[in-house]
């Protein structure tokens, strides 16, 4: 069942153009959102002075923008590699592209015109109770924007789901469930299909929950007498948010599965441990979200304990299967190093490294002194800046360089190094802030906390500088890429 799908030349051209559009749009939006992030840290470090309402608007923009574009970029990477194994519809890829842009326009209008500053998590009932800072119309535009974006993703996943079922006879088979439970392991079953099926299952569920909670909150905005249960809504929002942001990196990792074998000449085959890891990850990504509610003591204790235990367990497939597998493939392989292959290893480091502070904060007793401190952005910037983004950047370089004229231009090596060390500095400053009890999402910091904000602003500036060079290089080269 591993034969490649045959597309005609026009389909391949259209597919590649679509993926390029996803990647280039992602690079540009990531750069803009990074700039917003640097402004936030510079304000916290008192390098610049911006009014609190503007700070919280930029914070909302940065959060919504980064989460949205991370999902978008991850979808582009997954679609590019998955279409080799199942017949995907390029028109649906474009449909999601334009629906996404429509959602972005609504969100930008909500924030920049309507002054919406309810944070990307739109935690009920804050969007409806701004104390006059923004109107119900602005909150509506923001939540409709998210709903529109979610609809586009659901359509894309529907196409992926149909294609997987047509090819493999069911999502269970595509995920490799029969092979987990006794059937002979087929080493040619694509790792990308396993990962893509997991992403489809979890993210379809997560986005559907998001759509439900957004619809409820929108109804409440205009019919305030229709009250919602704040704890139930909080559960739904964190379920949706956790699954969606996790799915970005589980989408992007297919780049590692696909590219490292090409650079090392070693196959990355499915095995029982690999399938167990992805099967377990499917269940755990769906069930671990209560670790976001550890400080909601009215939650049933068994859910909080489950949140802690699954936080720990969900790190194991990353540390013991994917990152470990990547290291095994690279070790004494004679790998051909270039920007793309370097990005794949950085991505594994970033994912494995991000697991460490995440798992620690997922412990109830630690969470009491770390929840909603800078530790939290520390761990997710680790995942996103050094895990997901190198996956996306690596695919851009892979397509741009095209096997024939690949190489290691100094400018790419330097840009990646600046990006990596800038990001490490930013992450460590966040984590140090968490260890120093600095709260997250504060427009103004106490004087004793400002140094870390300043350090972050400088490190974030370096990260942005490296990323801008990477973006410019790919803006020039990627449109010319020919292979599909």
């Amino acid at each position: 069942m591993s034969e490649a799908i045959q597309y005609d030349a026009a389909e391949n051209r259209a597919g590649l153009t679509g993926v390029k559009a996803y990647l280039l749009t992602s690079l540009l939006v990531f750069a803009l959102m990074m700039l917003a992030g640097v402004v936030l840290r510079a304000a916290q470090g008192a390098y610049i002075n911006i009014p609190p309402e503007v700070f919280y608007q930029i914070m909302t923009l940065h959060g919504a923008g980064m989460v949205g574009i991370a999902g978008f970029a991850g979808a582009g990477v997954l679609w590019y590699f998955l279409r080799q194994y199942v017949r995907l519809n390029g028109k649906v890829l474009w449909l999601n592209y334009f629906i996404f842009l429509g959602g972005v326009v609504l969100i930008l209008a909500a924030i920049l015109i309507g002054g919406f500053a309810g944070a990307w998590t739109f935690l009920y009932p804050l969007p409806a109770q701004s104390m006059g800072l923004w109107s119900p119309t602005a909150a509506t535009a923001y939540m409709l924007g998210l709903l529109v974006i979610g609809t586009g993703f659901l359509l894309l996943y529907l196409d992926i789901g149909i294609a997987l079922i047509k090819r493999y006879g069911g999502l269970g088979r595509a995920l490799g469930v029969p092979m987990m439970f006794g059937a002979k392991v087929d080493p040619s079953h694509p790792t990308t299909v396993v990962a893509g099926t997991m992403v489809l299952i979890v993210n379809f569920t997560g986005i559907a929950a998001g759509a439900v909670v957004l619809a409820l909150c929108l109804f409440n905005l205009w019919q305030p007498e229709y009250k919602l249960d704040p704890l139930l809504i909080k559960n739904l929002i964190y379920f949706f948010g956790h699954v969606f942001i996790n799915a970005t990196i589980y989408s992007g990792v297919v780049a590692v599965y696909e590219l490292l074998p090409k650079y090392t000449g070693r196959p990355w085959n499915v095995s029982r441990p690999f399938l167990y890891a992805w099967g377990a990850a499917t269940l755990m990504v769906l069930a671990v979200y209560p670790h976001h509610l550890l400080m909601d003591f009215v939650m049933p204790p068994w859910m909080l304990v489950m949140g802690q235990v699954l936080s720990y367990l969900s790190g194991i497939p990353v540390l013991a299967i994917t990152a470990y597998g990547a290291l095994t493939i690279v070790y004494r392989s004679g790998i051909r190093w270039d920007a793309a292959s370097a990005c794949m290893l950085i991505a594994m480091f970033g994912w494995a490294g991000g697991v460490i502070p995440a798992v620690i904060d997922g412990t109830l007793m630690v969470n009491k002194v770390m929840h909603n401190t800078m530790w939290v952005p520390g761990h997710f910037h680790f995942y996103l800046l050094l895990g997901l983004l190198p996956m996306v950047i690596g695919v851009c370089y892979y397509l741009s360089n095209n096997r024939e004229n690949g190489g290691k231009p100094l400018v790419d090596t330097a840009a990646l190094a600046i990006y990596f060390f800038g990001a490490m500095g930013l992450i460590l400053a966040f984590l140090a802030g968490g260890a120093d009890s600095v709260p997250r999402r504060w427009a103004e910091h106490f004087e004793s906390w400002r140094f870390l904000g300043q350090l972050s602003a400088v490190a974030g500036g370096l990260t942005l500088l490296g990323f801008l060079v990477i973006t410019l290089r790919n803006l020039v080269k990627l449109p010319q890429a020919k292979i599909a």
Binding site: P52, Y56, A117, G118, A119, L123, P125, L126, Q129, S130, M131, P230, L231, K234, M295, D296, F297, V298, P301, Q308, Y312, I316, A320, Y324, L327, T328, V330, Y331, R332, S333, G334, I335, L345, F349, A352, G353, I356, P357, I360, L364, M365, V366, K368, V369, M370, H371, N372, T373, G434, A435, D436, S437, P439, R441, W442, A443, E444, H445, S448, W449
Partner: protein, 173 residues
Amino acid sequence: MLAESVWILTLVSLVLLSAVFLFVIANSGDERDYSEVQKKWYAIRSKWLLFLFVVGVIVTWATLSPYPITDQHAAADADTTVVKVVGHQWYWEIDNTEYSAGDTVEFHVTSGDVNHGFAIYDEEDRLLTQTQAMPDYVNKVRHTFDRPGAYRVLCMEYCGLAHHAMLAELTVR
């Protein structure tokens, strides 16, 4: 302090992780037969998995026993001071803010409007404990004030324009 220990543990783990990656990068040339590499590394992986599992069991037991969260259904002891806390945009309504050193105080925390985060900080701006302040629900968090001093209550859940200015003071004599 727990936060410092966690910070050191994280840094040490990151150094070890970096060392493993650097080792592999340094040994990425010099091509060898993959089946030999797989045999050797997969044998180590089994031990690594076992190590992670054992550490997980020990850490889970050590951190959850006793359960680190105040019992939400039990009534406070006679010698525990019960204090009601209501978060509002953007101030704290606390019905008693003065205690004596050694007092155990059980805060019953809720919100009059949106979600807030009730966090107690000491004089060195160290976070001691926290819980969420949520409309329609009451979270109970118990804390024993060992030392006299001026403690601060900060908001840890984003709640709008003056979230960062939502402060209150607790005095322990």
